[in-house]
Each structure stands twice: as C-alpha cells, then as structure tokens.
C-alpha cells in the first residue's frame, strides 16, 4: 500500500509528471489520428445506410461519441478533484482545469450535432426534451467551471474553488444519463445497455465504438498537452523548469 502511495506521489509532482505527460501526448495523438481516420472511413463507406433515416443517421458516429465523452470527461474531472482533496497534490487541480475546455468542446459538439440531427429527424433544431436539456446543463457546467476559474486571479483559490464546483456538479451526470429513462422523450434511449446487450447493427456499433475510442485518445492528448502548458505557467520560476531542454533551445 504505502509503496504504491509513494510512487503515486512521485508522479504527482509536476516535475515528474511533465515528461510523462509529454510522452502520453505523442502516443495518444497518433492513436487518435489513426482511430478517427479508420472510424471516419467506416462511418462513410463501410457502415450501411440506415433503412429509415437514410444517410442522415451517419451523424450518430460523431454525435454519440461526443455525447459520451462530454459526460465521461466530467466524471474524470470529478475524480481528479476528489484525489486532490484527499492527497492535495497540485497536479490534480491542474488536470481538472486542463480537461475542462476539451470537455466543453465535446459537450458543445453533442449539442450541435444533435441539433443538426434533430432538424431532419424531428423537424426542429431544438426541443426542450429532458435529454437535450440535461446535455445543455452539462455544457453550462463546463462553462461555469471555466468562468469561475477565469474570474479568480489567485491560483490556489481557483484550484480549490474549481474542485468544489466540479464535485457539486457531478450530481448532474446520472440525471443526464437516466433522463431518457425518467422522462419518456423524443430522444433515443441508450442503445448500449449497461447489461451489454446492444440493439444495433454490429457494423454500426463497431464504427461508433472506434470513433468513441478515437475521441477518447484525442481528449487525453489534448488534456495532457494543456496540462504541460499549465505546469510551465505555474512553475515558471522553479529551477527544474529553467533546466528543461525545450526552454533553453
């Protein structure tokens, strides 16, 4: 236990996390490019045309991954925040704020693509249906977090305030996820049940999964590179930063 704790703390110090993050950026950017490329190819050329929605349904291949990631990233942020409270490691706060913008982007994408899907399918860009609304709420949560941290000059305060906010906001995730169950709505129910049984053509399903993993890799790459910048900005007057090769180039 203790030994595990120790090497956890080793990585939680910015100076050791920085290079690690660097390696992850390269790895996951490559992964993301490959997966998304394959995913796009499949979603346009392999995946069959949907019998009732025609070609329009292909939006699903970005809509659903985006929607999932938007929720997933928020959960991860909450995880980091809790870690931060327990071990108060500086890195956790940095990770939280590094994830937020990417999460916000995905939340926006799920709204946007959803709207662009809704127009042909439901004949309207927007309805105040539970799922849609809760997705909108999630987007607001991200904006709120970013705005709050933006409004605070002092790093330490903004870290702590942010962490608290994220943990409070986490209660919304179940609401979003189950909103479809709780209200009977226009919006699709979960096609992938927790039980695992899928109500979907396997090819479509695979394409969706590949895209999802592509987005996932993208998110990691983006967050990691952002956290590197944050570390640089905050640790700017430490010696280890001043000794970095990329600085002295």
């Amino acid at each position: 236990m203790s030994s595990r704790l120790i090497n956890w703390f080793k990585f939680s110090s910015p100076s050791t996390f920085y290079p690690l993050a660097g390696r992850m950026v390269t790895l996951f950017s490559i992964l993301a490019v490959v997966l998304i490329a394959v995913g796009l190819y499949m979603s346009f050329f392999i995946a069959p045309t949907d019998y009732k929605q025609g070609e329009g349904y292909r939006i699903i291949y970005i809509h659903v991954p985006a929607a999932w990631m938007s929720m997933f990233i928020y959960v991860v942020m909450a995880g980091w925040s809790i870690l931060g409270l327990i071990y108060n490691t500086r890195i956790s706060a940095m990770m939280t704020s590094a994830l937020a913008p990417t999460g916000a982007i995905f939340a926006f994408l799920s709204l946007w693509t959803g709207a662009f899907w809704g127009k042909p399918m439901w004949g309207t860009w927007w309805v105040w249906d539970a799922r849609l609304t809760s997705a909108l709420i999630l987007f607001f949560l991200y904006l709120g977090f970013i705005a709050l941290q933006g409004a605070i000059d002092d790093n330490r305060r903004s870290d702590r305030a942010g962490a608290l906010l994220v943990m409070v906001g986490i209660v919304n995730i179940p609401i979003i996820y189950f909103s479809v169950k709780w209200w009977n709505t226009l919006h699709q129910g979960a096609t992938i049940k927790m039980s695992g049984g899928a109500s979907m053509d396997p090819v479509m399903l695979w394409t969706m999964l590949i895209m999802t993993f592509g987005f996932w890799a993208y998110a990691i790459a983006a967050a990691m590179s952002r956290v590197r910048s944050i570390i640089l900005e905050r640790e700017r007057d430490t010696t280890w930063v001043s000794e970095l090769p990329e600085v002295n180039r």
Binding site: I59, I62, I105, S225, R226, L232, R236, V247
Partner: protein, 57 residues
C-alpha cells in the same frame, strides 16, 4: 457511388456535413490553440530565465 452522390448524402448534405464540418473545425482548432499556448508559456519562461541571468550579473 459517385463523388457528387457521396457529398449529397442522400439529401442530408447540410446536416451531415454541418455536423462533421463543425466537429472537424473544433478538433483542428483546439490543437492549434494548445500549440500557441505552449509557445507563449515557453517564451515567458525563457524571458524569466534571461531576467534572472541579468540580476545575477
């Protein structure tokens, strides 16, 4: 299937490309922003190092 057909997306061109387009846009824009942010951070650090060098001199 011809290129035109493909881009027509069975009449759903606006919606499909509208979504995929914006998606691509954002997912290309973000890395660019990240890159510039990193550049600025590095520049700032470099400046600070130079300042300290001045002081020690």
């Amino acid at each position: 299937m011809s290129v035109a057909e493909f881009f027509d997306m069975g009449g759903y061109a606006l919606y499909v490309w509208g979504s995929f387009g914006v998606c691509a846009l954002l997912m290309i824009a973000e890395p660019l922003l990240l890159r510039s942010r990193r550049r600025n951070a590095l520049r700032r650090v470099a400046r600070i190092i130079r300042m300290n060098a001045e002081d020690t001199k």
